[in-house]
Structure formats: C-alpha cells, structure tokens
C-alpha cells in the first residue's frame, strides 16, 4: 500500500494535543535544553566574576583543571561514602517501616500521618534541628548519652572529622525515609492477596511468606527507590551548608559543596560549570537505566 494512507490520528486531536503540550514543552526546554547546553558552553571558558571583562576561551582546560585537582577526587570519594551510608540506611529503615505499616492494626493511621513530618519540613529546619542535637556544648545527643552514663563528659560530634559524614548522613536519612517508606508501601500493597493465600495453603509460615512472596514482588519498587535515593544523595547540598559548610577540614566537602565553593566563593564560573556538568552527567548516566524501565511501563 502506498502513500494513500493518512496518519492514524485526526487533525483535530493532533492540534489539540500540541496545544495542550505547548506550555510544558516550553518549560522543559528551559529546564533541560537550556542549562545543559548553556552550562556546557560556559564550561569552555575561563569565566571569573572577579575579572568579568576577561573571558578567554580555554577549550577543555576547566575540565582538566578539575580532574587534576586532588580535592575533586577526595570530594568524589566523600560523596560516594556519604551516598553508600545514606542509601543503605534508608533502604533498611524504610523496608522495616513499610512492613510495619503494611499490617492492619489500630492506630496505623496515626503512624502514617506522623510519618510525613520529616518529609514535609525543609532541609534547613532539618539541619538546624540536628545541629542543635549534635551541639558539643549543650546538645541533646551529648545530654542523652551523659544521662544514660554512656559517656562521662560532653563530646565533640560534628567537629570530629571521623564522625562528620555519618552524622550528616543521619540527618539526611531521617528526612528521606518517609518518602522511601511510602513508595515501598505502595509496592507492597499492590501484591495480590491471593499470592499470600496460596503460600499459606502451601504451608509457608510468616518468615517464608516474606522471603518468597513479599521480597521478590518488592524488587522493582526496591530498585526504583534505591536509584532515586542514590540520585538524591549524590546531589545533596542543603545539609552540607547548614551543618558544616564543607568542614571541618574538608571532612564533608562533597561534590555539591565543591560546585558551590567554586562558583560562589571563588567566583570561578568556568570551572564551576564544568564541575556541575560532570555531576549532571554522572547522575544522568546513572538514571538512564530507570528511564528505560519506566518508559516501557508507560
């Protein structure tokens, strides 16, 4: 059959769809096309706001500069450490919480309402709250441990370079767990009750049902949450600003903080753009795998 066939959608529908889509496409080109293209362009220049008039074109010098900087690599290491710590903790705690909320019992509604509190508060408040708890002079952490006789005098927490990352991770985990829990809970709830019924008839006890029905069915949701939280952890900035400003002695100097320092403290926009571009690239490659799976589902 030759060109006698028209398109399969009516003109009216096609026009309507384009009209409906236009605002979103405009916004998406702002958020996707523009920053990606423009920041790549900027990263090819040595742009410093300290000497705005001289903006030489330097090809990929900025990138070379970034790769040659040992601080960059230690930032990568620290970001990785932070991410692994945070994501593992999130997955464990969220799974336990989702299991609890999946059960039917009185008062469950209260728990699910309360669950949203950490999610709702801004990171600044989260940071402020934990900073106060971790305070070496009067903080609640010191106070609690002291009262329970675990320590005999108040200790330094955030200021101790060995403890900095885990403590920040804790603040991060506390705020991220609710969303992870909800996503896992939603997956759990979509497991058909018949599967559990069949397992019971087959003689499986509670633990076996968990192992052979819940866990396998949970896997796609688990993956989704893990990838999402990984992305969130890699690019996280707020807590590092509030709690430690990258210190002490660079102990919490992660990639996001590096971009901030480079761009807004050193005012070197060229290298800042290069750095930001690299981070975006890493995150994008990492997330490309979910796009594949999710795109198929739609």
């Amino acid at each position: 059959m030759g060109g006698a066939w028209r398109q399969h959608v009516s003109d009216y529908d096609q026009k309507s769809a384009m009209l409906f889509l236009a605002p979103m496409l405009a916004v998406l080109s702002v958020v996707a096309v523009f920053p990606v293209v423009y920041s790549f362009w900027i990263s090819l220049f040595d742009l410093r706001l300290t000497r705005p008039r001289s903006v030489p074109f330097v090809w990929f010098d900025n990138y070379a500069h970034v790769f040659a900087d040992p601080l960059f690599w230690t930032s990568v290491a620290r970001t990785a450490t932070f991410t692994v710590m945070a994501v593992s903790a999130i997955m464990v705690i969220a799974t336990l919480m989702a299991l609890l909320l999946n059960e039917e019992f009185r008062g469950r509604r209260i728990l699910s309402a309360v669950l949203l509190v950490p999610w709702a508060i801004p990171y600044v408040a989260d940071g402020l709250m934990w900073k106060w708890i971790y305070d070496s002079g009067y903080g609640a952490l010191n106070g609690l441990l002291y009262q329970l006789d675990f320590i005999d005098k108040y200790m330094v927490w955030l200021g101790d370079t060995r403890k900095t990352l885990p403590l920040i991770a804790n603040a991060f985990v506390w705020k991220e767990v609710p969303l992870a829990t909800i996503l896992l809970l939603v997956t759990m709830k979509s497991i058909p009750a018949d599967l559990y019924g069949a397992a019971k008839v087959d003689g499986a006890n509670v633990w076996q049902r968990f192992l052979h029905v819940t866990l396998p069915a949970l896997r796609p949701g688990f993956m989704l949450v893990m990838i999402y939280e990984t992305m969130m952890a890699i690019r996280h900035f707020d807590l590092f600003f509030i709690l430690t400003e990258g210190g002490p002695a660079n102990a919490s100097h992660v990639l996001a903080w590096d971009v901030y320092v480079e761009t807004f403290r050193k005012l070197s926009f060229g290298t800042g753009a290069a750095l930001a571009y690299l981070i975006a690239l890493i995150t994008f490659l990492l997330a490309f795998s979910i796009i594949r799976t999710m795109g198929k589902k739609l």
Binding site: W5, H8, Y12
Partner: protein, 365 residues
Amino acid sequence: MARIRFEGVGKRYPNGFVALEGLDLDIRDREFLVLLGPSGCGKSTTLNMIAGLEEVSEGSLFFDDALMNPVPPHRRDVAMVFQSYALYPHKSVYENIAFGLRMRNHPASEIDRRVRDAARKLEIEPLLERRPNQLSGGQRQRVALGRAMVRQPAVFLMDEPLSNLDAALRISMRAEIKQLHHTMATTFVYVTHDQAEALTLADRIVVMKDGVVQQTGTPDEIYEQPRNTFVASFLGNPPINYLDGTLEVEGREVSFRRGGLRLALPPHVAQRVASQSGRAVTLGLRAEDVDEHGTPRVDETVHGRVTSVLPVGSDQFLGVEVEGRPQFFRVGKEMRHREGDNVALVVNVNRLHLFDRESGRSLVW
C-alpha cells in the same frame, strides 16, 4: 435521519497493523444494522469511525452525502452506548443523562422534560438522584441507554452493550432494544460477537473477519445462504458441521462422497457444479437439518457412531462420528441413545451447503 456510507474505508496503525480494509457499506436510514464477528475483526473500529473516535486512514465516510472524515466526535450527531457503560462516576444519574444535552446548550426546561421522559420509559425514575456506583449492572445499562436516547440523535451506536449482563437479563434487554429502535425510528448500528443476538435484532447483518467484510445481508440470507465457511460456521448454535469430500458426477446426478458416505445433491446445487467431478469440496450440514424419522433413502442418510449424548431441555445434542469426523446434531427427545450406538440420520438434502475445499467459498450462493 441518517444514511451512512463507507467508501473504500480502511484503518491502519503506524506499526503496520491493518484493522480494516476496503470497507464498502451503505447503511440505510432507520435500519438496524449489526456488525458481527470475533474479537479483532474490525467491528468496533468501524463503529468508532462512525462516532469519530477513530480516524479514517483511507477512503471516505459520509452521513447523508456530507463528508465526515475531518469532523471530530463532538460535532457529529451521534450517540453511543459503551460495553462498560462509561457512566460519569462523579455525576448523579440525572446529570449523566442530561450531560449530552447540556453540552449542546439545550434550555434547562427542555433538558428536564427529556430526561424525565427517558427515565420513565426506562423505568429508572426512582434512581435519578443516585450515583453510578450505587446501581446494579442492569440499572447502569439503562442509564447508559437513557443518556443516548435523550439526545435523539441521527445515529444510535451500541458497542456490545449486553455482554456484561447475565443471561436472563440479556434476553429481555434484547427485546427492549428492539422496541427502542421502533419508537426512536432512527439508524441503529450495533456491534456484537454473539450470533444469536445478531439474528434476533438485526435488519441486516455485516459479518466481519480480520478487518474484511465477509458477507452483508438479512439474518435470513446470512443464515440460509452463507457465502463462505467462516460465515456459515459463525452463525448457528451448535456450529455447522463440516465434512471434507469430493464431488461425483454421474450423468445429471451429482453427489458428495466421503468414504462410505454418499449424498445426492439437489438440482439447484447440481446444476452449478455439473462438470466438476472429482473436485475437492467441503460439505456443510447444520445440526438441526437431520431427522430420525422419515423414509431413509440410501443417498440421503448419514450413518455414524454416537460419541456423546447431551440433553438440552427440549431436544438432545448427539455427538456422532461420521466417516471419521466428529459431528453434532440436534434431534428430538423421543429416541434414547447411548454412547457407542450406531445411528442413521436422514439428511434434508435441500438444506445442504457446499464449499470449495481450499478457499472456503460457497459453491452455491
């Protein structure tokens, strides 16, 4: 108030799938036309094209000589009843029925009159303030009918509206729909896969398969004069029995032979196939076209071994193995049969069907 014409209409999707091809159909004003066929045959696609819900890929669609291809559904004077009823869950029954009229800016008093009128006719007046989720399946179906009725459209479309109802309700609703067609005096186009429904309701039936029209005609024509094996087997319950065999011509007598079975073909058939001795054919014999009484002539009888006996209230179905092929016949209840019995059934040779073995095309009609 509408004559619908398809000229060379086809539907193809970007992935190459062809849902409909070469459709030429002339639906007369006020007729009750049924589109019949198995799932995937293109009947729903055709219906959706009349509604404007599917785009015509090729060819032209006319309502009374007006080209409808570019006209979106909300500008066509068409009403539709869906298989799942598609009632608006957030609106009351009243609002569901009134919605189409509101969208077309009828005055409020007019809307009220028409809605209550329809509700009375469908006996759903007490339900007007309820929500769809408070209704039974049968009630929802009536609301869906009401919604379409009040519009008094030029064309009334129905997409398997009865398939979600239980058997008893289905039969009574068929009668109501037929009655509705009389009162509304407008064109009805009805889609179903149920051949009994088609035979009951239709003025004309269009039998479809794989996007192609197999045959168009009155129920009687389709049933009595099927043009191919598909049409013949799609209508009739239990389905028509087929036996492969060959033609034997002896002078002016033509008969069908398979192994030990020989059936004389009546004159109106014989004259069409007179010179085709040895031709491979398929014989079609409907379950009800045999009898246990009557004078058995050797060339009008089939013999076989009973393989199953299924009583069905007023008759019984006999599963009989004839010349190695399983067949199903419907006979009266007077004679008792047992599995393994040999039985001889007199065939009404005037009602035999004959098809070309390869193409399935009828050699008679």
